[in-house]
């Protein structure tokens, strides 16, 4: 029984016009759907028939030239013939795929729009809860500083990151960073506001849950 070892597309055949055959090597045949073989050692027979299957089978001859007689359709069962060439799709299927692709693109655009709208709303909410100095710092640097409600330490909050974005300041120098945040599906500006409120109102609770690292 001949094992079909590999499959090639029609474009592969154009490079296989001279094939050296020997024990263990492969020859290429183009076969029509009805099982007849092309009487040639080259792959590229008439491509008018779009149902050409191309397959590669082990050489079973004894010479160095490949002939069509070496392999006959009888040696290859229908189950072994699997075309690499894409089967033709119907117009109906093409239309179905087009509609599906458009729907996926529409959904992706809508999700992007919703994410951007949520970020905008969250940023407005954060700005509403900053004092004038915090707002100016944020507009200038992208971060703002809050005072710990208990210790009066200064904490810099950077809304660009969701985690590890709270830094305890020692003057102008960062001393430690803290990681405590709300779930990631919330916009990062909401996260920054939550951190601000927690530090100002219940600093101890924030520090208890936050992971502390050297800055």
């Amino acid at each position: 029984m001949i094992t079909v070892a590999a499959y090639f597309s029609l474009s592969d055949c154009t490079n296989a016009t001279s094939t050296t055959c020997g024990a263990g090597s492969f020859i290429y045949y183009a076969a029509f759907v009805d099982g007849t073989t092309a009487a040639t050692t080259t792959c590229c027979t008439s491509s008018a028939n779009s149902s050409i299957y191309v397959y590669c089978v082990p050489y079973v001859g004894t010479g160095t030239s490949c002939t069509a007689n070496t392999i006959t359709p009888n040696h290859v069962t229908q189950a072994m013939v699997q075309p690499r060439v894409q089967p033709q799709i119907t117009e109906e299927e093409r239309e179905r795929l087009r509609v599906l692709r458009e729907e996926q693109q529409r959904q992706a655009a809508e999700e992007r729009r919703q994410r951007e709208a949520a970020m905008g709303r969250a940023k407005s909410l954060l700005l509403e809860h900053l004092n004038e100095h915090q707002r100016e710092t944020f507009e200038r640097n992208g971060w703002f500083v809050v005072e710990g409600g208990k210790s009066k330490k200064q904490y810099r909050i950077n809304p660009a990151a969701h985690a590890g974005n709270v830094t305890e300041m020692n003057g102008d120098k960062p001393a430690h960073s803290y990681c405590a945040h709300i779930p990631y599906q919330f916009p990062s500006f909401d996260n920054a506001l939550a951190q601000k409120l927690a530090l100002e109102v219940d600093e101890h609770a924030f520090l208890k849950v936050a992971n502390k690292r050297a800055a």
């Binding site: 969250a122 985690a163 945040h181 709300i182 909401d190 109102v201 936050a210 992971n211």
Partner: protein, 75 residues
């Protein structure tokens, strides 16, 4: 003057306002507050005019502004 509750959610936030003199509006706001607390959100009463903000465990219809945020977790 209308009082306001801001509930954080994945759309950014949802705002709910109520007139503390209108019982039905207070009831709606209270229900929203209690539902949020059941879902694990923390409530903060936002201080105004120099007043410090603080936590809220129960709904206060006289609180002019409150923000409800999800729990913070260590990361």
């Amino acid at each position: 003057m209308l009082h306001e509750m801001q509930l954080m959610d994945t759309t950014g936030h949802t705002s709910l306002t109520w007139d503390p003199d209108v019982e039905s509006e207070v009831a709606t706001a209270r229900a929203a507050f209690e539902d949020a607390k059941k879902r694990g959100l923390q409530a903060f009463h936002i201080g105004k005019g120099g007043r410090q903000s603080d936590r809220m465990e129960t709904f206060d219809p006289q609180a002019e502004k409150m923000v409800l945020i999800p729990q913070l977790r260590g990361g």
